[in-house]
Every structure is written in C-alpha cells, then in structure tokens.
Symmetry: C2
Subunit: 684 residues, 2 copies
C-alpha cells in the first residue's frame, strides 16, 4: 500500500470562472448534465473509472444536507470505500483508560484498542492467559495490584530517527510504569514498574535508534517510595529520569542495562530526544521551579498559583551519551534495584544543564534535523526556539550561574534562536515536510502553523520564524500529531488536533463527553490549512499520538505457526497441534488439560474434575485462516481468552466452586458457533 500523493490546482474553479457566471443558467443545465463525465476526466489527473460522472442523487443530497464546498471536499478526502485501506495509522495513548488506540487516517476509524495497563476481555488480556503475567509484573512490589494506568505518550521505535514499525512504548503517569507493545501482533509484552518513582510524565520518547526509551518524571517525591513530610520538600524530594535500555532482539526493556538520573524536585514535564546534529542529547522542560507544596486549605497559595510565580522555569539539557559512559564506568548507586546517577555526579560529569524557559512550559520538541528545540510556554504567548549549536557554543565558553542544587544555568540569550508569538496557551509542536511547524494553542483553541527559520526557511514562501495561519479547533486542544511529524523526515499531508473538550460537537449521550480528534489537511502551503473531520473519542482521553505510514507496519496476519506463544513469540513446546493429542491428565490434585480449538469444536468437550483441584489448561487454536479467532470463556470462573489463528495460551487456576459450568467460544466463528461449547464439571 502506498501513500497517495495528491495534486491540486490550489485554486477554486468557481473563482477562476467567476466572470462567466453572469451567463443564464437554465438553458445550460442540460449541457452541463451531459458533459459532466467530461469534466470528470479533465479534472481528475489519474481517473480510474472514466465516465462515472457525478451522481445526480449525490448533488441532491448535498443540497438537502446543506453541505458546503469545503464539506464536500472533506467528505471525499476522508471517505474510505469498502476494501480501501487507510494509508496512515495513528497510535494514540488512551489516558486514564490505561490503553492505546490504533486509528486509520484519513478515515479516522478506530481499527483496534490495545490493552496495556487495564485488563480487557475482548482481546483476552488479563482474564487467565499470558496478559495476567504481563500485568502482574507491573504491580507495586509484587503486592499492590494496579489494574489501570494513565497512558500519556506513545513512542514508536525508531531507526536513524525514522519510525521503523517494530515496537511502540507507553508510560503510565499514575504509577510511573512503562510498557512495550510488539507491532507484529499489537499486543503488550512487558510492563515494568519504574523503581523509586511515584509518577512519570515525560515518557515515552525514544533515542534515534531506540537505544533508550526515555521516561521523564512529573511530581517530585522522596526517591524509592519513602516517606518525608512536605516541610522537607527541598531536601528530601527529587525528580528522577529513567533511560530504559531496549533489547530489540528480545523485544524487551533490559533493566540491568538501564539507569536513572536524580534531578532537583522541580516538576519535570515533557521530554524529547535529540536527533541528527543533536543526537546523544535529550531535553525536558519543567515547572514548579518555585518548589511550591500547595496547601490551599492552610492558607498557602494553591498549586496553580504557587507553581506559576516565576517568569521562567528550566529546560533540562541532558548529555545521555555521557550519562551512558558514566553508568558503564560504575559511577552510580544501586537504589531499588536500578543504577542511579546521583545529582552531584550528573553535575560533575557534565550530564545535566539548565537554560531558562518561559512560564509553565509544556512541550519540548526537537526539529526534524535536530537543530532546534521548540518550547511552548502555556502561560506565555510565544514559542521559544533554542539552538542546539548555541547551546554547544555556550557550553564550550562555560562560566555559568547555578541553581540551588548546583546545576549550571546557561543564560537564555546564549541559547535562544528565536521567539514566535502564536497566541494563547501554546503547548506542543510537530513538523511537516515544507518547513512548517504546528503548535497547539490550548486557550485559543487553535492550531498555529508557523514558518521555521534556519535551514528550513527555503522550504516555504514565508520568512522564517513567522506565524502563517491559525485554524480554530473545537475545543481546548492539548497535544497535536502530524504524519511522521516527530521523525527526521515528516510527511506533511495531515495534522490531528487532540482536542480535550467537544462540548457541542456530538449528539448528547450524557455528562461524560468524548474528546474530539480533528483531522486537518495541511497539504497546501500558506494559510490553506483546512479542517477535514471530527472524530469523537468516547472511551479514552488520548494525550499524545504518533502517525506512521501504514506500509511500515508488518503485522502478522495469523501467527506464523500453530502453537505460537505470543509471550515468547515462538512456538510453545507444550502446545498440542492436533486434536488426537488433546487430553486431560491428573497428577495428585493437579489436572492438566491440553485442548485444541477449531471451527466448530473444542477437543475435549468435557472436562470433569473435583472441587479443590489445581487446573493447568493449555489451549491451541489450530486455524490458519485469517480472522478465524476463537474465544474461550469459562462461566463462573472469570476467565476469557482470545485465541488468534495459531495461538497457544495457558491458564492456571484452582477449582474453588463446584457445579456444572460451560466453556464456549466467544467469537462468532461459524454458523455453528453456538454449538462450540463444552461442559466443565466440578464434583463437590
């Protein structure tokens, strides 16, 4: 599948021929009707079905519905006829749903939900199978169950700064956790509870070859789940950024090769990894450099006031290549099972620097070539552009003041390339192929297109560092995503506004409203951004999303072999691959079941055990046909699996209830699907 490139005239024909419109209409209608197929052919540069013509009923319909010419264009741009595939795929976080969403672009249809931190039975995740183990690995100290998360920032794996379509990572802000999803089957393979940290936010962001997955912190706390009263905030509370080493062959994060860096107890926010010229560096912004600790009920300023007193906060500048060296040299402390580079070490070794950034920043986004970091200050109408080269020059020159913790502060005038006034509440910035940047304006409810300067200035007609267009969106845009928009070579074509409020955009279905993803056409230069589509998100609150070319994804259509263990991504040697090997074996109080699953029966169809038995139950879907998924629901026992073609799963439980139960296929797999059932008999 290739991404359609489109040629447009950039001009509306009705403008072009406006002078001719004085000609009387009625006598010409008949001619127009006759010749329309001709227009069709002349207008379409790559017509595939000549002579189709414009359907009269479509014109009637458009009139009846009051569709404008922009509406018609948008409809034809986003409509996907049956069997045509979306050229782009968006991977969006799900916020407090704990999940991720996979969305086709431009049709804005949800292709699937990926269960990550929350059990989800449709995909059989967390109801008896492999997912239970993945989820359990993310509990606090293996004790406190966590069955939801607050997913914020998906990070697609990259090779040379380009999405490679292999993996996606995501963080859980609520509990400081991180997850790995394998894009061969779009399933969560690993969850790690981040040691020492309570919350996170600035993750996940990958380094250009996915050497590390960066997880930045949010609210400061004593390192290691310790206790300290708030009056010891300055001394005992800390921030903590984690560089998770990723093993691409195993498809797993390797905690033994990963490290953390201790930070002052500012509230670090979003991060981004340098790339191109700035490869080896990373950037995070921060707020609450005031060290506010709240307490409105005590007469203190509330956090919203206490954390916004200063005019500037600190952009954190990390030399992660240097940090890696320091880690490998053993200049770390082991805390909570992970290597920690203490703050003083980070300062001494030249790993961490600050530079001021405007009031309450919320996005730090590196340009495609890595030359600049763009920071949106949500209480400042500008975006501030920092030059990587200037930062390096300043570092060479040296001679800095330090913050209260001894971190060197590079003055703003030594690091800033430019500021562009965009409007109220600039948050996040993404990029296109024409040298434009796109920044979300939360308070303005708008997408700002502005022209980059420097090496990007020659790509667009406008002067560098200038605002080009502000497109209203509906409403309260948070993040923003562009097609391959945070890679080394953005695609252009589409931007999606991740609007937090929808208010009046959709039919009222109760006081909990959906978010509104709005698709924006950015194919044309200048002030010609156009709104294409409103997509409600009524099951999640996505914070960030990435958009990858669909043809970069190489997902399995079915699992490669029968007996496939999606946990190990290899055949399970215990799987039975033919019904004649299906069986039930008892050893003492343990009953082990090997079951095959195929349209339209389970083998065996009866499993009889005693109350109190321990049950180990292997199930293998023998199907090789795409979409021939079977479910396995065990009534009364809270068990449900989704067995995709070839998949093997193992469940294990104690038979605590006696009686007669059924197991049945939960996927409508064939005309005799209702007959795909068995009896599970538990003798009292």
């Amino acid at each position: 599948m290739s991404v359609a490139t489109e040629k447009r005239t950039g001009e509306h024909w009705s403008d072009r021929y406006a002078g001719l419109l004085a000609v009387g209409f009625t006598t010409l209608v008949i001619f127009a009707l006759v010749v329309w197929p001709g227009i069709w052919r002349s207008a379409g540069s790559s017509v595939q079905k000549p002579g189709v013509g414009l359907p009269a009923d479509a014109a009637t319909l458009a009139g009846e519905r009051g569709l404008t010419s922009d509406d018609i264009y948008a409809a034809l741009k986003t409509y996907m006829p049956t069997g045509q595939l979306d050229p782009y795929i968006m991977i969006a976080s799900g916020g407090q749903s704990g999940q991720m969403l996979v969305i086709g672009i431009p049709s804005m249809r949800i292709l699937r939900l990926i269960a990550v931190f929350t059990p989800e039975p449709w995909q059989g995740y967390g109801f008896g199978g492999e997912g239970d183990k993945v989820l359990k690995a993310g509990f606090v100290n293996d004790k406190q169950p966590l069955t939801w998360g607050d997913t914020h920032h998906p990070g697609l794996s990259e090779t040379k700064g380009e999405y490679d379509g292999q993996f996606v990572f995501i963080n859980d802000k609520a509990n400081a956790r991180i997850a790995v999803i394998d894009l061969r089957d779009f399933e969560t393979k690993q969850i790690i509870k981040t040691p020492n940290a309570i919350n996170d936010h600035g993750g996940t962001f990958v380094t250009p070859n996915t050497e590390y997955v960066v997880e930045g912190p949010q609210y400061a706390a004593p390192i290691g789940y310790g206790y300290a009263p708030l009056d010891q905030y300055k001394d005992k509370y800390r921030g903590l950024i984690t560089f998770w080493a990723f093993d691409r062959v195993q498809g797993r994060i390797d905690p033994a090769r990963s490290f953390q860096i201790e930070l002052p107890p500012y509230w670090q926010d979003l991060c981004d990894a340098g790339k191109g010229v700035s490869e080896g560096w990373a950037f995070c912004n921060s707020f609450n450099t005031e060290l506010a600790t709240g307490g409105i009920e005590l007469g203190n300023p509330p956090f919203e006031a206490g954390t916004t007193k200063n005019d500037t906060d600190f952009l954190h500048i990390f030399n992660w290549k240097k940090a890696e060296e320091v880690f490998k040299a053993g200049k770390v402390e082991k805390i909570g099972g992970i290597a920690v580079i203490r703050l003083q070490t980070a300062i001494d070794e030249g790993i961490l620097y600050f530079t001021p950034e405007p009031k309450s920043p919320h996005g730090a986004d590196v340009t495609p070539g890595g030359e600049y970091v763009v920071v949106g200050g949500k209480l400042d109408p500008h975006v501030t552009i920092y030059s990587y080269q200037k930062i390096q020059d300043a570092l060479k020159a040296g001679g800095f003041d330090k913050d209260a913790y001894g971190v060197p502060i590079i003055p703003l005038d030594k690091t800033m390339e430019a500021q562009v006034e965009l409007g109220l509440g600039p948050l996040h910035t993404v990029y296109d192929d024409k040298g434009y940047a796109y920044t979300s304006l939360f308070l303005d409810s708008a997408v700002a297109r502005w022209a980059l300067g420097g090496p990007y200035a020659s790509k667009h007609p406008e002067p560098g560092w200038t605002l080009v267009q502000k497109l209203p969106v509906h409403y309260n845009i948070g993040h923003i995503a562009a097609a391959e928009g945070d890679t080394a070579s953005p695609d252009g074509q589409y931007v999606v506004a991740l609007n937090k409020w929808s208010i009046d955009r959709f039919a009222n279905v109760g006081p909990l409203l959906p978010q509104n993803f709005q698709l924006v056409d950015i194919a044309k230069t200048g002030d010609q951004m156009k709104l294409l589509y409103d997509m409600p998100i009524g099951m999640a609150e996505p914070h960030y999303a990435q958009i990858i070319k669909a043809d970069k994804l190489k997902a399995f259509e079915v699992y490669p072999e029968v007996g496939w263990d999606p946990g190990k991504m290899a055949v399970d040697p215990k799987a039975v691959t033919a019904p004649e090997n299906a069986r039930v074996e008892r050893k003492g109080n343990t009953v082990e079941v090997w079951m095959t699953v195929v349209r339209s029966h389970f083998t065996p169809e009866r499993v009889e055990i005693n109350k109190g038995d321990h049950v180990i139950w292997h199930l293998t879907n023998l199907e090789r046909t795409r979409d021939a998924t079977h479910g396995f629901a065990l009534s009364g026992y809270n068990i449900n699996l989704s067995l995709e073609p070839g998949e093997n799963q193992t469940i294990e439980f104690d038979a605590t209830q006696s009686g007669v139960f059924t197991y049945y296929c939960t996927e409508f797999c064939s005309a005799l699907h209702l007959e795909m059932v068995g009896y599970f008999l538990v003798k009292p």
Copy 2:
C-alpha cells in the same frame, strides 16, 4: 434535532441522458464548469447554500482516488461536518468486552463506551467509586469476582412498543447476569447475578411497556449451580427463562416481583416479546432438542453434529400474562431466592407451548404489529413465518402431541403462515416502514430484503413473502439492526450489518481483527439497497444493536445539582458543595475526607494520615460547565474516578502502603491542569 427525510429521483441522471452522451465533450467542458452552480440549484430540492457549487478540487480528488458515483453518494450521505449531529444513535452490545458502544448514525462514529460488566477507568467505573458496588452486586454468591461479561442483546426500554429513550438493559451470556443502564447519564446502575442459572442468551428483550425484561437461557445445567453428571442430563439439567420486573420510577429491576420458568434442557436461544395483537406473549427458539452432551474425545458426536441431527427444533411460545397471574397466585417454588414456576406448572397452566421450527434456528423476531414471528434457521435456507392468529386458533382447537417433558407441540402446519427462501444461513430479521423485512445471511455474507405479506403487502410493490434483493456484505454477518427496526413503527432509512469477520477490509494491525459494521441505505424501495460505510469495531464483538432516534434521548448535559450521587440519582446529603466546607476528620483509625474539585485545584491539597488508617473520601465536582469533567487518580492505590460536573463520589480503602503519593486530575481540564494535584502522605 429532527431526522432528515430525503427525496431522491431514484434514477441516475447519466442513465437518463445516456442518448446525449454522443455529443463531443471537450467544447462543452467550459460550459459545464460555468453552469455547475445551476445544476446544483436545480438538483437540490432544499438547497441551503445556493451558489456553492461543486468544488473543482473535490472533483480532482475523487478522480485521483478513483471514487465511483456510489462512493461519492455514500461519502456525502455519511460525512458529518463539524457541529452537525447524527440523527440516529445505535446502542450496540460489546460481546466479550463486557461493555456497550454508543454509535452515531449515519457517521458511524463511536460516541462513547458504556462500561457494564468490566471495570473501565476512563469513566472511573470500578476503580474506587460507585461502580465498585454495582460490579460487586454481580459477583457469584458475593464471593467469586466476575470482572468481565459477554454482553449480547441490548434492550431499550419501551412504552407502547416504542423506544422511550429512558433505559437500556443488557445480558451477560458468560455468567447469566443482567444490567440496567440509565440513559440520563449512560451509566450502569444495577447488575444482578441471575439466580439458579449458569449462562443466558435470549436476553435482553422487553415487553411493550417494559413491564418485564426477558432473559432467556442458553446451555442447560442443573438448576441452582448444582452438580449432576452428564449421564443425568435428561433428568437433572434444565433451561430457565427469567422475567425480570422493572421498576421504572426507581430505575431498577425488582427481583421480588420477578419470576423464572423452568424449561426442558433444550438450548434456548433468542427471544422476542409479542406486541400489538400479540402483546402478553413471548417467543424463544431453541436448538439441541436432541439433548446432545458432546464428548468428541470419547467417540461421541461433537456438539456441532449432535445438536443438529433433528430436522426441526422447538419454537417456545410463552403466555407471560398468564405466567404473571400464576406467579401472583403463588404457584411457584422459591429457589435460590427467586420464584420459579416449575415446568409441570407451566404446562398445566397453559404458559408454555412448542411448535416445530427449521433446523438450528437463531432468531425469533416479531413483526411491528405483532402479527407474525419470523424465525431464521441457520441450517435451512428459508425464514419461517408463524402467525400469531393461527397459533391462537390452534390453541383453541387443542389436541396436541407432547414432547418428552409433556409440553404441548402445535403442528407446524397449524402455525406457519409462509416460508421464504432467502439463501444460506439466515439468522436475524428486522423491519422497516415500507413493509420489508431484512434478514442477515451468515453463510451467504449478505443482507436479504424481502417483502412481508398480510397487512404489510400493500406497502411495497412486490408480492408478499418474496425475496426482493440480496446485498453482499463483508463478511459473515451475524445480527442486523435497523433504525427503530424492532419497534411498533420502524423508521426505514438505515440498516446496519453486524459482520463478524472483516478479513481484508482494513489495514492490518495484527492477527486479532476488528468486526465490520456496514451501514446500508434502505431508503429506496425495490432492489436499491446500497452499501454506505464500513466501520471497524476493534475493541468489542457486538452481537446485537438497536438504533434509536437521537431526539428521543434526553441525557443530562451536566448533573442537575452539585453533589449529585449518580447511584441514587439525587443529591448526596454528605456532599460538600463549597470549598470552605472541605475538611479532613479523624475518628480513631478512620479518616474521613470531604474534598471539592474545581478548575484547577482540589481542596484540600494535602492529606496526611498514618499507615493502616481506614480512609473514607468524598469528592464533589463543583463545576456547572458542560464538559468540565475532572478525574481523580490516586497513585499507587489503584484508584481513579471520573467526576462529571456536579458529581459526587465516595471511595473507601485501607492505607496499606506508606510513603508519599499524589492525587491528580486525569482529565485535561484547563491550561493549569497539570497543577491540579495534591499530596497524599502516609506515615510509616
């Protein structure tokens, strides 16, 4: 909002003017371009924006994309410009996701997910608040947790056989449970574990004034979670249909006024309530009248063969008004806490009758006026139409054979009105306003439109009881839904094919494929059904759906008053409604917190307790602005709430972990949303 009625010519202009197409194109193109706005006006019967014209860039785009005239019509029919609202709302079950989906029609956008049997943190359901109580009421004997369900058939509440937009009900096939959702806030208010039953399937279906919510059984088992070996199947296993009395004022099912009827151990399937002339009756079909018990591993026929030996199964005919009388007269046994009408009583009192139905039936759908019951036999190419009047005439005549359990069997020739051959695998049938029926054909992967006879014959040009059109769908259609299609007055306009397989329709995102809901235009008579839209469902496996006019729904925009308890649907007297009343009180080891929530702070911002304390925490969202929802996430404690404007929730837990935790708002509510946080300090 009103439902647009559309006038169409029923003819394609290019056919009409085909003779003129010999005229040379090129010289006329210029005229066509000029006069297009005129066509616009002449073709559109209710043009709202005259002179808009067809945008040239849209024509170019359509050409480049190879869109056919049908595609263009479909695009303009389904596209919803920003701010325009869908005129119909579909409520779909979620299958093994345990949830329900609310979908706008014709745009096919998911407006929200309703969490029912599965905890869902985006809506704060099952992570510390009111939802925990609702979910817990559905556990088995208050002990065995059930945290998922297999939702099958949503049933919208009805008044006089019409959807009234007040409530929707849903069943859990996996565990025999039933749920009540209040459509004022689209939240689940009640879950009941159905006593005595293991599975269900034939629910939920409501009687015409929602006196009862019908929950029919599926796989037979000993009544009451008892144990009996399969060789006692005939004697000890039973089916069990439940008539749940609904209290519309309380918005709750009242188990004390509800009753069950014992049935033979056939596997009852789908049900429907009579309406109009047949009000007071209900109908369920069944399969496995063979009493097969499986055991392929023992050399027995597998269920798929054993349950399909007979040429006919039994349509179950219930006189529920009579059953209600019998229940009120106390001719019941109390089993598992509910009144059960034993099988013999049902026979003796004239509550239950059978009539043969073709091989492996799967839908029993009453016509809008209640005159007929249409049954699809999935291994028979016909639908069989039963006449309510003929059933009544036969009952008066009497003199029936009986099945092995003594249930009277009315011969097929005394009950059947007609049979219509439709194709392979007919399942379910819905209706429109033009006297057509629509039946899903699973094996043919098609929607069959056929003409009803009797009083419906005058509504359409075709003779009654004839097949009109078969429209291919993609693929393996299960259920089917039509706009108000199972009410007393269907709307026509749209049918949705609930396709079980999608195979090649969407970009490949792994071996677990989405379902495919296909929207079909049924506005025109005859063989002019057209496919409009493919909608992937990648987070659920909906079995059935109902489509209601959007303007029948009267959901709250915000909760009516501050301090609103969505459980009681009234103000919680314990709620604090102003920040000055927020406080923390300790009594022994119990700490009670009253907290207010508003942009952009919680009051109080610090909660300090001791490890081991019992915490009761009330939270009130003070907002009155639509969409000003706040979340409440408590790190490390697996707690997350969604507090819609005005909402009050109470959480209760033991402080088992010491340390410093944060609570923060999970909904991006304002520019200072990240500052909406507090510290929860638990002293060791």
